[in-house]
């Protein structure tokens, strides 16, 4: 148990530090476990669909084995995207952040029922969306661009998932607010701060997709439902059509900060936990804080870099977003230095020497460490293809080709997912009280993911760059497929095979740990790794103050989106939704 110190000055009347009891730990652990459990459940289905996709591209169409469950490649692809990119991530992050905030502030949740409500909302949303996804009523991919129209339950499910994640954030804000009252002069601990900043960014970002769904899509989807119209005939008038360009713009208002919602939890672990896992320290805690604030400031006003190829958006606005996007590469490059320097401290403490030989002295024997370090290496390449995507006209070379899935499997598929696997390799033992089943399997999982992803991503990047093969397409059946594609497809199939093995190992480790008998109980409890700063000292006030950063973020958004969104709304067309195309 931890004890709060009483600050001498500024103690508010009647406030008292609140200690974390065993019961509080149980509450948090349960919430964390529930969220992560659902996330892993979603991933179980989503990951293996990916294998089928990779094989299909190489000409092996095994979807008939899944009938009548999954009818087509595109249905599988939609489920793969929704379960991996939206469900696995959101649930894991909400669980992880709940755990981190409580254990970093060393204070119980202020209103645990709020976080439980959040989980319930998110799960109902998932189940609601799962129905049309598996019934082949929502084969619209996770971007669901109108005029394609899915069943209304799909959109409502997504709304509940997002709203639930907001509620999870509120639960954390109340907790932080209570801690603040009890500790008016303390600096927010880094791990808690990073989690809270990410949540705030997420809540701003999701306004875009919420507006898109609620105003441009859901009413028409509901009007399309015989069931709903039967209940409330007036709903039939709600089918208005929508403006696809406005819809895209609102989606990508959300879609770029979405990737930082995926990435920042990984950064949080890399900065604030990983160094401790290899005997190192945080090289600069203040720079780490600055990086998170910069992401809050810059993550949203950049969405047009996903729309460089769109008609109807003036080049000037695209260039403005490109400018912010290039600036957004800066905190990530900063992260490269600060994190690697932190890890290097550990390697040298463990006897590492030379300019590069020290790398071998990192804690590669710990699967939690190894997985995350591999995630960082893969991300190094994902970041480069990301900067390329952001480079305005260079995007014309690669947009919507297989280069894109190559890129994002290195980022959300590795930086995020493999890091989350690494986190689980200490968090699962922590939550279950059992030893990891087993360290060797987990290490093998990390290695096979790393090697598999290198091959997979390289194949897809080059196939897209050199041959322009389109993404999101059943390439195995495409009439424009040519022999030059084959070497790259072979490379990706080898990659996919390794990834399949890796995914299997992951599930073995997870279920093995959770289900293993009491005899595999941990000898001593696992603690959340927390990296100490190399130079402990006070944090400048401006790195622990919300108002200027939030105000700056809002100002940049108004500047970068305000006028153009106004124009798009003023000029919007009500273009009819298309009948079902799948």
């Amino acid at each position: 148990m931890s004890v709060q110190t009483l600050p001498a000055a500024g103690l508010a009347e009647g406030s008292r530090p609140v200690l974390l009891t065993d019961s509080d730990h149980k509450t948090v652990n349960r919430l964390t476990g529930l969220n992560i459990g659902v996330g892993i459940g979603a991933l179980t289905i989503g990951l293996w669909l990916g294998v089928l996709q990779g094989l299909e591209h190489a000409g092996l169409n095994w979807y008939s084995y899944l009938a009548p469950g999954i009818k087509t490649y595109y249905q599988g692809l939609t489920i793969h995207g929704v379960l991996n990119a939206l469900t696995w991530t959101t649930f894991f992050i909400c669980g992880f952040f709940t755990y981190v905030v409580v254990n970093s502030l060393k204070r119980p949740l202020r209103y645990p029922w709020i976080n439980m409500l959040a989980f319930v909302l998110m799960t109902i949303g998932l189940l609601l969306a799962a129905y049309p996804l598996f019934a082949n009523l929502a084969t619209v991919l996770y971007t669901f661009y109108p005029p394609m129209l899915a069943d209304w339950t799909f959109y409502l499910g997504l709304v509940l998932l997002v709203v639930g994640s907001w509620v999870s954030g509120y639960g954390l804000y109340f907790t932080y607010g209570a801690w603040r009252k009890e500790n008016p002069d303390a600096t927010t601990p880094f791990l808690a701060l990073g989690a809270l900043i990410t949540m705030v960014m997420w809540q701003i970002a999701t306004l875009g997709v919420a507006a898109e769904i609620l105003f441009l899509i859901l009413p028409s989807a509901m009007a399309n439902s015989a069931f709903l119209v039967g209940l409330f005939p007036a709903i039939a008038n709600w089918n208005t059509g929508s403006d696809p360009l406005l819809a895209r713009s609102l989606f990508w208002f959300f879609g770029h900060p979405l990737v930082y919602f995926w990435l920042l939890p990984a950064y949080l672990s890399w900065y604030g936990m990983m160094p401790a896992q290899t005997g190192g320290k945080m090289f600069s805690e203040n720079l780490a804080r600055l990086v998170f604030w910069l992401f809050l400031l810059l993550s949203v006003p950049v969405g047009f870099h996903h729309q460089y190829a769109d008609p109807g958006i003036p080049q000037a606005w695209k260039i403005l977003h490109a400018t912010w996007t290039m600036s957004l590469a800066f905190p990530s490059l900063l992260t490269a230095f600060t994190v690697i320097a932190s890890l290097e401290l550990g390697a040298r403490a463990r006897g590492g020497k030379g300019y590069l030989r020290w790398i071998f002295k990192l804690n590669w024997g710990d699967p939690s460490y190894a997985a995350q370090n591999f995630a960082m290496i893969l991300f190094a390449f994902g970041g480069i293809s990301g900067i390329t995507n952001a480079s305005y006209n260079m995007n014309m070379v690669v947009h919507n080709t297989t280069w894109l899935p190559g890129h994002f499997h290195l980022t959300v598929g590795s930086a995020t997912t493999l890091t989350f696997f690494g986190i689980l390799y200490w968090l699962l033992p922590k939550l279950t009280g059992k030893k990891l089943f087993t360290k060797t399997l987990a290490l093998a999982q990390a290695w096979t993911w790393f090697l598999g992803m290198l091959l997979f991503a390289n194949g897809y990047h080059l196939l897209g760059l050199h041959h322009g093969a389109p993404r999101r397409s059943m390439l195995g059946d495409a009439p424009y497929r040519v022999a030059e594609w084959t070497p790259y497809l072979i490379e990706t199939v080898v990659g996919v095979t390794l990834l399949f093995i890796s995914a299997t190992l992951f599930f073995l480790v997870v279920f093995g740990t959770v289900l293993s008998p009491r005899s595999r109980r941990l000898a001593k409890p696992v603690e959340m790794p927390v990296a100490e700063p190399l130079h402990p000292g006070p944090t400048p006030k401006w790195l622990d103050t919300w108002t200027p950063w939030v105000a700056g973020a809002v100002a940049l958004i108004l500047l970068s989106y305000g006028p153009i969104l106004y124009q798009l709304i003023r000029d919007m067309q009500w273009i009819p939704f298309a009948p079902r195309v799948w």
């Binding site: 090289f283 690697i340 006209n393």
Partner: protein, 40 residues
């Protein structure tokens, strides 16, 4: 009381290599774009 052992030599070495990789790969795509012709 700043002692030099904390100087991250390895990080610098690694990042200089990384910077070269970034420049090389990015330029590869840049020149591919140039080779495919103007659009306006």
């Amino acid at each position: 009381m700043k002692k030099e052992p904390d100087t991250p030599h390895g990080t610098i070495a690694l990042l200089l290599v990384y910077a070269l990789i970034i420049i090389f790969l990015w330029s590869n795509v840049y020149f591919t774009m140039l080779s495919r012709g103007v659009t306006q």
